[in-house]
Structure formats: structure tokens, C-alpha cells
């Protein structure tokens, strides 16, 4: 297998230049001769870090969905909205497209992302039926889609900032918003700590070219 590692070369994580670590330094860390970034053969402690961020994100996913993300108070009374009640509001007020959008990015995407990353991390330990080609594609999709979960955080921030009618109505962010933001950040960190090269290492030399 003609991988960089099999030739004793490490790719710099920043500028991608290949580095040849000194003989006594295999398996440790080295400095990229071009840009000075710390290079490793693979991302350090990739699987442990991925699992740690995943477990933290999955734990916070519960309060993120149960606690109110927004509290509206107006002359007509006050209401507390969770993420799902926000989706229901759009659905019933005649914007089903918007309801689907919010439902996808706020509820489905984080859930699929956590599940997919757990599956990827698991596949490194036990290469199964799914080949590294498809797993690699899954990783790329997860990395791309995850950032869109921030949509609800931005919407909450903008609503809170905009609706400032002292006596008529105000909107405040609820505790769920912080939990939800933390889920997004933690799952992005989980995806960033995962090293997709491990999928190919695990599949061994039997994986076909092309």
C-alpha cells in the first residue's frame, strides 16, 4: 500500500507538506519544516477524543431539546418555546417548508451526525461490511452538514436582539439555547478530532484501488 505513512512520511496538518521525521521520532510529534505546525503520523488520540466529544454532545442533546430556547413576553402573555415547538409553530402558521428546514438542521442533522460519527469511530475498531470508500463519503457529508445546525442559534440571537419593545414585547434566550449551541460546537469538535485515514488503515491492504 503506497500510503505516506508506509514510506515514513507525515503530512503537515496545516500546509500538507510531507515531513520526514527523524529516526528516533517515529510515532511522536515533529515540526513541519515549511510552516512550523506540529505534525503527527495520525491525529493524536483521535478515537478517544472523538468519543469524549460525542458523549458530551449526546448528553447535552437532551436538555437542548427539552429546555426552552426562547421566552417571549408581550401584552398578550408570555410563552416558552422549545426547538420542536418552534418547528410546530412554523408548520401550523402556514410555512411548512420553513418548518421542515428548521426540523432538519436543528433536530435531524445533530442526531444523524452523532450517530454517523459513532458508527465511523466504531468501524475503525471493527472493520465491517461497509468499505472505507462509503465511510469516507459519510465522514465528508457529516463534516459539511454539521455547521448548518447553528441556524437556530443565529435565529434566536437575532430575534432576541431585534424585538426590544420595552412595554409591548421582549424575547429572551432560554437555557436550551446554550445547551443547543454546546451540542453544535461539541459535535464539530468530535468531527474535527476524527481522523478519516484510520478508516483506510483499518481496512488494511485488502482495500482495492479505484
Amino acid at each position: 500500500m503506497t500510503t505516506a505513512l508506509s514510506h515514513g512520511l507525515w503530512a503537515c496538518p496545516c500546509c500538507r507538506r510531507l515531513c520526514r521525521p527523524s529516526a528516533g521520532n517515529r510515532g511522536g510529534a515533529g515540526r513541519c519544516p515549511r510552516c512550523g505546525a506540529t505534525a503527527h503520523p495520525r491525529k493524536p488520540d483521535s478515537l478517544s477524543r472523538t468519543w469524549a466529544f460525542l458523549i458530551a454532545a449526546a448528553t447535552l442533546y437532551v436538555p437542548a431539546n427539552l429546555l426552552p430556547v426562547m421566552q417571549t413576553s408581550s401584552l398578550l402573555g408570555s410563552s416558552r418555546d422549545t426547538i420542536i415547538s418552534g418547528v410546530v409553530y412554523f408548520w401550523t402558521s402556514g410555512s411548512p417548508g420553513l418548518a421542515l428546514l428548521i426540523f432538519s438542521v436543528s433536530i435531524l442533522v445533530p442526531l444523524i451526525k452523532l450517530g454517523a460519527l459513532a458508527y465511523l469511530a466504531f468501524s475503525v475498531r471493527r472493520p465491517g461490511a461497509t468499505g472505507p470508500h462509503r465511510l469516507g463519503r459519510l465522514y465528508r457529508a457529516v463534516e459539511l452538514a454539521g455547521r448548518w445546525s447553528m441556524l437556530d442559534v443565529f435565529v434566536i440571537a437575532l430575534m432576541v436582539g431585534m424585538v426590544r419593545f420595552r412595554t409591548l414585547a421582549t424575547i429572551e434566550a432560554g437555557p436550551g439555547a446554550a445547551a443547543f449551541g454546546a451540542v453544535v460546537v461539541l459535535s464539530m469538535l468530535a468531527a474535527a478530532s476524527f481522523d478519516p485515514r484510520l478508516l483506510w488503515d483499518a481496512s488494511g491492504p485488502s482495500s482495492h484501488e479505484h
Binding site: M1, T3, A4, L5, H7, L9, A11, C14, C15, R16, R17, L18, C19, R20, G30, P33, R34, C35, G36, A37, F90, S95, L98, L101, P132, H133, G136, Y139, R140, R147, W148, M150, L151, V153, F154, V155, I156, A157, L158, M159, V160, G161, M162, V163, R164, F165, L168, A173, A177, A178, A182, V184, V185, M188, A192, P196, R197, W200, D201, E209
Partner: protein
């Protein structure tokens, strides 16, 4: 398009390593190929992009980055929307929204919105300005490598396109509550989203491949 910029490669790098590139997703080794502007080279095993030759020249890119900076200033200096309910008017910029969140004890959300909607895109644009200006001046100053590392670190956290969608969603949401008048910043955000999409498609790592020209402070 092979890297010819190194005046004297450090001892730890073999002379052949410059001509090779490893796939970032599967680690397969490839020999670098010369590319024309706008072309990409993909990994033969997994299809990940290995090298991309930018479509834009550095001077054109600098113009786009400056345009994006102007759009960024407008987008953040002016109110995004103006709300009108029974004669009273409420409007806010993105920074106002962040400050409101902070004052209401939602510091975590405030920091998150500030970092992803303001700080990361601004730092990215300023770093790109400094890098492209240095390249155009034919120099590779001491801040060249640290700024490139900074861009690699912060790029995933800049989320202007998500923020743009958030502005549109809150516009629809607020239009149920009050009369909404789009502000200057709304148009600036749309321009910023488009310009930033072009800027982010430019992989600044290709600047390493450009000859450093006159050796300056490097």
C-alpha cells in the same frame, strides 16, 4: 506547479518530498502534477481533492477580499432589520444582538454568535489581506506561516452563510409579529455571503507554491 519556493530545504526534509502529496483522507501518496488555473487534482483511491490551482490570480483575489471587507463593515455597522409595532420602532445590528444576549446572562450563546458570525470571518479576511499583500509585494515575511496556520484553524468556525439563512428565517418569523423593514445590512449580508463563498473557495495553501521572488525578511 511544483514547490520551488524553498531556498534551502531543512535537513529533515528529503529533496523528493516536495514532489509528493498525500491524500488528507486516506493518506495515499501521489506525485504532484502541474495544474492550470481552476483545475483540481483528486486522489485516485478516494476522490478527495489533493491539489487545486486557484481560478483567481492573487491580485484579483485581493480585490475580492477588500470588497468582502467593505461588505462586512456595512453588514455590521447598519441595522439588519427595523421592526415597527404601533408607532414604536426597534432595530439592531448583529453586535447589538450579541451584547443583549450577554447582558441577559446568555454569555455562552453570545460568545458563540460573536465568534462564528463576526470574529472568525473578520480574522479570515484580515489574514487573507495580509497574506495576499505580502505575496504581491514578492515577500514572505515572518508572519506568513503563522497566518496560514491561523486561517486553517478558524475557517471551519466562520459561518456567514448559516448566519445569512438565519437572518432570512428571523425575517419571516418577525413578519408574523410586526411590520418588518429590511435595513442596509440585509443587502450587505447578501453581498458578503456571495463574496465570502468566492474567498473561501481559494485555498491559501497554494500561496506556498508561488515563488517567493525577492527574498525579503524570510
Amino acid at each position: 506547479m511544483t514547490a520551488g519556493a524553498e531556498a534551502s530545504p531543512p535537513a529533515s526534509a528529503g529533496p523528493a518530498d516536495d514532489r509528493l502529496v498525500a491524500c488528507p483522507e486516506c493518506d495515499r501518496l501521489h506525485v504532484r502534477v502541474p495544474l492550470r488555473a481552476g483545475e483540481k487534482a483528486r486522489c485516485v483511491r478516494c476522490g478527495t481533492v489533493l491539489q487545486s490551482a486557484p481560478y483567481w490570480r492573487p491580485d484579483q483575489m485581493l480585490a475580492l477580499v477588500m470588497a468582502a471587507l467593505i461588505a462586512f463593515l456595512l453588514a455590521n455597522a447598519c441595522p439588519i432589520l427595523e421592526l415597527r409595532v404601533q408607532g414604536s420602532i426597534s432595530s439592531a445590528t448583529l453586535l447589538d444582538a450579541v451584547l443583549t444576549l450577554w447582558r441577559e446572562d446568555r454569555q455562552l450563546v453570545a460568545v458563540l454568535v460573536f465568534a462564528t458570525g463576526l470574529l472568525a470571518p473578520l480574522a479570515d479576511l484580515l489574514a487573507m489581506t495580509a497574506l495576499l499583500a505580502a505575496v504581491l509585494a514578492g515577500r514572505r515575511p515572518a508572519y506568513f506561516a503563522p497566518l496560514l496556520r491561523l486561517i486553517q484553524q478558524i475557517r471551519p468556525w466562520g459561518m456567514i452563510e448559516v448566519l445569512m439563512l438565519g437572518v432570512l428565517v428571523s425575517l419571516i418569523k418577525l413578519s408574523h409579529l410586526a411590520q418588518v423593514v429590511p435595513g442596509v445590512a440585509l443587502w450587505a449580508f447578501i453581498a458578503l455571503t456571495v463574496l465570502l463563498a468566492v474567498v473561501l473557495s481559494y485555498d491559501p495553501r497554494c500561496l506556498w507554491e508561488l515563488p517567493a521572488g525577492r527574498k525579503g525578511a524570510a
